[in-house]
């Protein structure tokens, strides 16, 4: 049994695997499927200040080793989350050290600020600022491409944010290293990356794009090597200053360990939850088994060792 605990910004998480936003609901849905207590955290479905129906038309398409989604930040709004889903999440996580990340996305800067203020008045452990949703025009990706835009929104949210602030980055960023640096300069306490990759599919019978928005977000094992490269770059840029949380196609303990060896403090698991509802627990156990076999007692021993 290795020590899989992770110190994330002063909070000790029971494990290195955080369930990624949008793939794990509010954790409640998985309460009978796995032991939520082994997770480092659960990141909520992406929240916006006001409720959102999400996108019309097709929302899902399987691809080789991947999944394209166009959900469009469907969520009940920050206030509904605070009154309903958050207490249920707390109940499901009672007695565990598993952190709650409130993933906040969408809208104009004022909406981000107001949403953040409301969430900071609750007992969520972290704010994960989503500047990377590719499926909503103002879902944040507008801020996630250019470092200057990111700096503006992160800076403004930082001013009202009293919780540890994680900024979730898009792989569409023009320059990953510059983007990570801009987020940190603007006050991010940590960065998580990557969100989904902008992708496209065409329905031959209809001779039209599958998704109403034409482009949608690709995730899953297909993107993992690219995500790992980007995490490597982000660690290179800001790893000495802040924790980097790595995600993108992680489906096994070995995958997760690659991100840790690239320098990630912790990892998030998303699409793998759909192929295996117990993926977060299995991946944690697989990391443990590999470490045991190789005499590695804690993640600190191997974090960034590949660099």
């Amino acid at each position: 049994m290795s020590d899989l605990r992770v110190d994330l910004l002063g909070q000790v998480l029971p494990g290195p695997v955080i369930a990624a936003s949008g793939t794990f609901g509010y954790g409640i849905e998985y309460s009978e499927i796995l032991d939520l207590g082994v997770l480092g955290g659960v990141s909520s479905k992406g929240l916006t200040l006001n409720p959102k129906y999400g996108n019309e038309g097709e929302r899902l398409l399987e691809t080789p080793s991947g999944l394209i989604n166009s959900i469009g930040l469907q969520n009940p709004g920050v206030r509904h989350f605070i009154e309903n889903e958050l207490p249920a999440m707390r109940r499901a996580l009672a007695g565990t050290g598993t952190a709650i990340l409130a993933n906040l996305g969408g809208g104009c800067i004022e909406d981000y600020e107001e949403g953040c203020e409301l969430l900071c008045a609750t007992d969520v452990d972290f704010i994960e600022l989503n500047i990377s949703c590719p499926n909503v025009k103002h879902g944040g990706i507008a801020y996630g491409v250019q470092a200057e835009s990111a700096k503006e929104v992160v800076g403004r949210v930082r001013k009202v944010c009293t919780k540890p602030l994680i900024v979730k980055m898009s792989p569409q960023a023009e320059d990953i290293a510059r983007m990570a640096a801009a987020c940190v300069e603007a006050g991010a306490d940590a960065v998580s990356l990557v969100n989904t990759f902008q992708a496209c599919a065409i329905d031959l019978e209809k001779r039209k794009p599958v998704f109403n928005n034409i482009f949608a977000g690709l995730s899953g094992p297909a993107v993992r090597p690219i995500a790992l490269r980007m995490v490597w770059q982000a660690v290179g840029a800001v790893g000495n200053a802040v924790p980097v949380i790595g995600l993108g196609g992680i489906a096994t303990g070995e995958d997760a360990l690659q991100f840790i060896m690239a320098g990630a403090t912790a990892v998030q698991v998303g699409t793998a939850n759909f192929a295996d509802p117990a993926a977060c627990q299995r991946i944690t156990a697989e990391m443990d088994a590999w470490m045991d076999k190789h005499g590695v007692k804690s993640l600190d021993e191997i974090r960034g060792c590949a660099r």
Binding site: G25, E29, E32, I33, G54, R59, S65, N273, A275
Partner: protein, 268 residues
């Protein structure tokens, strides 16, 4: 009750028609038995094998239901759950290759099924199905029969009906229509059913058929429940990939809030 995820053993698997398979599994005692209209996410390939997603398949039969004679093996009473599905692609092809004794992964029971708890024993109920949409209606008929309600059956198929022989005995009249006219009524089920003869109509099939049945029921002020089908990633309400719009404009998950809805709620 949140869904479980467990391995179950195949009890039997038979081909029912050209591309229609019947898969029966031994249901573990530790998991509550599903009921009519619910479904499960099925997977008999590894998490790192294609396809990425498990397949949502509706409950066709739960044994025992009501006064069913228990099935015993080695002195042990078995709970059996049957799925009837159409082979459409690489997921269902693998499910169709399962043999007795094999294991598969099940996530479920998922969703809310047909709720007829408010019906009294004298209620008149019609089950209207089209194609593979008839699959969940068999267990529905069985659960109704266990409550003393003999539901009338209206099923439509393209050409050749399947899984019909089991409707002998405890049910009401059975009417079949085929598009080709090869068997039964030549035409659509919507031409056979008179909603005003019923207190409740339960419907599952192609959306165009369900919309038509729902409209006919609405016209006669008869309650109509429909079971929707959508692509799903998680099957348990987490991914929001299967959202449908309700009359109020609110989005509901077909997997978690459905798949059964009041037709008025989803076919506004």
């Amino acid at each position: 009750m949140p869904a479980r995820c467990f391995d179950a053993q195949v009890f039997s698997r038979t081909q029912v028609a050209d591309s229609i398979q019947r898969l029966t599994v031994r249901w573990p005692e530790s998991v509550p038995l599903p009921h009519a209209g619910q479904f499960c996410m099925l997977r008999c390939w590894e998490h790192d094998e294609a396809p990425l997603l498990s397949r949502p398949i509706s409950i066709h039969e739960v044994w025992p239901t009501g006064n069913d004679e228990p099935i015993c093996q080695d002195g042990e009473q078995l709970d059996l759950v049957t799925f009837l599905f159409e082979v459409k692609g690489i997921g269902t092809e693998q499910l169709a290759a399962l043999e007795a004794g094999d294991f598969l992964q099940i996530t479920g029971p998922a969703g809310n099924g047909f709720d007829f708890s408010e019906l009294d024993a004298g209620a008149k109920v019609a089950l209207v199905g089209g194609g593979i949409g008839t699959a969940p209606l068999y267990q529905t008929a069985r659960e109704l029969a266990a409550r003393g309600i003999k539901a009338d059956i209206y099923y439509g198929f393209r050409d050749e009906p399947y899984a019909m022989e089991q409707y002998r005995g405890h049910f009401g009249t059975v009417r079949v229509a085929t598009d080709s006219g090869r068997v039964g009524f030549h035409g659509f089920v919507t031409q056979m059913i008179k909603p005003e003869e019923y207190d409740l109509v339960l419907c599952c099939g192609p959306e165009v058929m369900m919309r038509r049945v729902a409209a006919m029921c609405a016209e006669k002020d008869v309650k109509c429940l429909v079971s929707l089908e959508k692509k799903m990633a998680c099957g348990i309400g987490a991914c929001l990939g299967c959202t449908c719009k309700t009359a109020s404009g609110e989005g509901k998950s077909v997997c978690k809030h459905g798949p059964v809805f009041d037709a008025k709620e989803v076919f506004a």
